[in-house]
Symmetry: C2
Subunit: 592 residues, 2 copies
């Protein structure tokens, strides 16, 4: 059973991602180390004792559509109420509306724990938090006044309605329509699919944020507006009015995250009588809906990345526990009597260490991204630097972590042997739950396009170059530390960073030359190359922190394993970026 | 929907794996190219039209235990009867008992198609075929006479009973016991788990092959005997007698292959009255049961490899079809109107080409392994050479193909985007079905131990060295072909083979020096390195075959893609083999 790794999480926040530094510099207001500990410990307790025990029933029972109503798994509605009673929904929300105004880093760390406990459950507040952000930034004073406090407390939840059958990655292709009414409201019509927690029984209202087109809107992405559409209309005194013209038509049967209702939502069908059309209010300006949505999507990408980290952590814990318990055969050098625990077999140890290194690497990348977001809001003077850092790290945090989630969960099954394939063991669920994360909130392929074509060119390529210099500095510190435990880490980091540097330079150059297809052919290998180089660098940074002897030694040893066993892949990835495009283009005939 | 790739399969058999060569040399009796075509075409038709359409209901409905009886999914019992009526069960069985005595290569090719159609279904005859082999080789004349004809026709099916809760990879730990009776029979007692198709309603008898210990047996693997235990006793005239004391206690809930009943079998519980103990007959000699089982396990490893090839093929077909149909965004260089098919996006093309290359590589390796098995039975003079080749290729065919099955199925989900996560699409099932294959029939980690510690040292390392020379020869032929389409293939092959050569030499040396842990630490990366080098070499061999212009061009282009995009991984793998062990050993403290 999952136990929240509060110590690892706190260490990574403080010494790798920059939390202690920001606190020391006074950039996080009156947030002190004690409060950080208190929050992480209590989140860890809640995730371990309350959330994780309900994951299994959520998977087995799933969300069910009964007479048009969605039933969440047994115990989940109460779990949600307990969870919001703990104040967890409003950790980062604006204090003006009852939020705690804490840095994003803490929320991301807590999200990791909720997601390790039960990803399908954690999805619900994740969507609400995104909506809070979009409304805070773009909602009118009236909308903010009416909805924000209840969304921040979690009394109501929220959804994001983008996807339609023919508009997935290409949001611009959507067809849902909105009509203006004289009173300033709108009426919405259309079908949205893949709406996470679109309908459920855990709260008495649900606030939908919906992308749709006005009749006179320009084609494509510039003709999309964002609307707020509540399930029940809200009276001026905050009480609930009549049911709005929106309902859940069906639930998807998914490979995983069964406890999360994935809804097809119908707007404006007239099912509840009266004038057809779901009543909606404009968020932001007409035809500028995509801008508003991007506010929440960027953060949502990081929170999806956390799902990868979270599942990797839970899968790793489970696999290590099993490998220490299960005995089979005799490992080389085993001097005990009888069979050895399988963790003693080098191949099993290799799998577990790979799992652990990928988990910690993706955690560090994701927390560093959250730190950059925090700093972009709070640091004075270098706002642009931190905005660019957050922008650069977001696609890597999303893609590398979610790929790690899948790879680690799959290795976890392998460590369990035949038991891993049996659902009751629980290892298989991790892979089933993890498999969606590289897809939604922008597929990892789209993250790679974003990274290569929009993020590398920031500040004319100077931002990424500055970042590479920071990584080189970490390698230099490893070298000058003279700590034996690091083994060949410094040299391995040097070549990984050199590979990243060459690939970066090449991508910037071919794009400057207008060779877009060449750049995009290597985007995915480049994204992984970046993630691996960061994994090595951040594990090294953690190893250098030196806070307590035993833990230091373990961190340094894991860093060395990553450097000497995982980083060797960077040369192959660089090669694919720089030399892979021609053969890829030529081989298209093999797909005909 | 899956369509059997008969042309690709026939090409790989003939021009890559050596079938035409063997036919030309007269090593396969009167088997002619026409008969090969007829068999493959008819198998392809049956797999496409009869098996594949029932895969989905098998997954959704699964095998069910009702009142102690196992119900197979709707339509599967009839499908099985139609399938045996086609003579498919006895393709390679001895002619003496009604088999067709055809080479293993053809059966393996047909197995690929059954498994692409529905892996859970194909598992049933796969087990029977293994039992036929074990009985043919080790059964007494009486047992052969009584059982072989009906197992070869498929009128009865068979099972393999090895695993017990505490004896999985380590078979020697098993505890099931057998007692001698005066009439020469035995009585068996114990519990076996994970018994594939252990109980079902598709035939009127099931023949269990069961490993158990005699009371006076030595401890460990040298005290295990093999017994034949029929579900219903068989009278001398072949009619069925009373129910034997064995039953299916429960079915596992598995991540995939739902249509295949995975049974816990109880022997000697007395449930059907009378004296307790399941009546069994010894196969082979007492305490030599593991030898007998190995006969069938080696072949079973190749047939599990075919599951990987088969799922990879089916997943690739589905993903390509979807990517040609689905439109989103505008790919660079897209000149059509509106959105482009996603296959035009370089990142999607990269995924599809990777899937295709891994599928064809693992197919070639597996067919080459089957060829070696055939030659070891039929070639005159170089029997040992072919035995060693089969022994060397078996762990690679099993592990590389089943890893490819998982990786390709996972990429297939990614290509489908959100739809890939929805069960009705069918892409998710491939990953769920594929995930067991790297585990059962010896985990891929155990295959790697076998490869490194038992197969490399064959003929003092000379066998593997000779094989490497054959691969070098292929690279030379590519170079001297002067075909532009191959791009950098020759040079890329050279370095992949050099990496393999160095890693091989290193492994032989450290084992000679007694450094077992060092060798085993690198066993899994080595196994993948071997598989990748073979993939490149065999795709090149296919590209060199030159049989028809268009197809030749496509094969050469795919080979080049594999050489220039996938083979770069071999340097990293070699590095892990040669330089990875120390940091792996040092990092064990991080798992504490």
């Amino acid at each position: 059973m999952y136990k929240a790794p509060v110590e690892d999480i706190a260490f990574t926040l403080r010494h790798v991602a920059g939390l202690s530094d920001a606190i020391d510099k006074g950039l996080l207001g009156d947030l002190g180390e004690d409060l950080v500990d208190a929050i992480l410990n209590e989140a860890g307790r809640f995730a371990t004792e309350e959330v994780a025990p309900l994951a299994d029933i959520g998977d087995r029972q799933g969300a069910r559509l009964v007479d048009g109503e969605v039933k969440t798994p047994d115990g989940w509605a109460k779990l949600y109420q307990d969870w919001i009673a703990g104040g967890w929904n409003g950790l980062t929300g604006p204090e003006e509306y009852g939020g705690q105004g804490l840095p994003n880093m803490l929320n991301v760390a807590a999200l990791e724990m909720w997601n390790s406990g039960a990803t399908a459950f954690a999805l619900c507040p994740t969507l609400t938090m995104g909506a809070v952000e979009a409304l805070s930034a773009h909602g009118s004073p009236e909308l903010r006044h009416k909805y924000l406090a209840k969304l921040i407390s979690g009394q109501w939840t929220a959804t994001m309605n983008l996807t339609e059958p023919h508009a997935g990655s290409d949001v611009g292709a959507l067809k849902s329509r909105a009509e203006r009414r004289d009173d300033g409201t709108y009426r919405l019509f259309g079908q949205k699919i893949f709406i996470t927690w679109g309908e459920h029984d855990a709260t008495d209202n649900i606030i939908h944020l919906v992308l749709a087109r006005l009749p006179d809107a320009p084609a494509g992405t510039r003709g999309i507006s964002l609307f707020l559409v509540p399930k029940f209309l809200v009276n001026d005194d905050g009480s609930l009015g009549r049911r709005n013209d929106v309902f859940c038509h069906s639930l998807e049967h998914k490979m995983g995250i069964h406890g999360s209702p994935t809804c097809t939502m119908i707007y404006g069908d007239g099912r509840f009588g009266g004038e057809k059309g779901a009543v909606g209010w404009l968020v932001g300006e007409e035809n500028k809906g995509l801008n508003c949505m991007f506010t929440m999507m960027n953060n949502a990408r990081l929170t999806v990345g956390m799902q990868g980290v979270a599942i990797a952590e839970a899968a790793t814990q489970k696999a290590i526990a099993y490998a220490m318990e299960r005995t089979q055969g005799r490992a080389p050098g085993w001097s005990g009597s009888g069979m050895s625990p399988i963790i003693e077999h080098p191949d099993v140890a290799r799998m577990l260490l790979t799992m652990k290194a990928l988990t910690q690497g993706s955690r560090a990348i994701s927390y560093a991204c959250a730190h950059a977001i925090d700093m972009s809001h709070r640091a004075s003077g270098d706002k642009q630097h931190w905005q660019e850092r957050a922008a650069l790290l977001t696609p890597i945090a999303k893609s590398f972590s979610t790929d790690a989630g899948v790879d680690v969960a799959s290795l976890g099954i392998q460590v369990h042997g035949g038991m891993g394939f049996i659902e009751e063991t629980g290892a298989a669920r991790f892979l089933r739950d993890a498999r969606i994360a590289p897809i939604y909130e922008g597929t990892n392929g789209i993250q790679a396009i974003d990274l290569v074509s929009r993020k590398l060119p920031l500040s004319n390529g100077d931002h990424v170059k500055g970042f590479l210099a920071e990584l080189r500095d970490i390698a230099d510190q490893v070298r000058s530390s003279n700590l034996d435990g690091f083994g060949e880490t410094a040299a391995r980091l040097d070549s990984a960073i050199a590979d990243l540097e060459q690939a970066t330079g090449w991508l910037l150059k071919v794009q400057a030359d207008g060779k877009v297809a060449d750049a995009l052919s290597g985007a995915t290998p480049y994204q992984r190359l970046f993630g691996l180089a960061l994994t090595g660098s951040y594990l090294a940074k953690g190893g250098l922190a030196r806070v307590s002897d035993g833990a230091d030694e373990r961190r340094i040893a894991l860093c060395r394993f990553a450097a000497e066993n995982l980083l060797s892949e960077t040369a192959a990835l660089k090669d694919r970026v720089i030399n892979g495009a021609d053969s890829l283009a030529a081989a298209r005939i093999a797909l005909a």
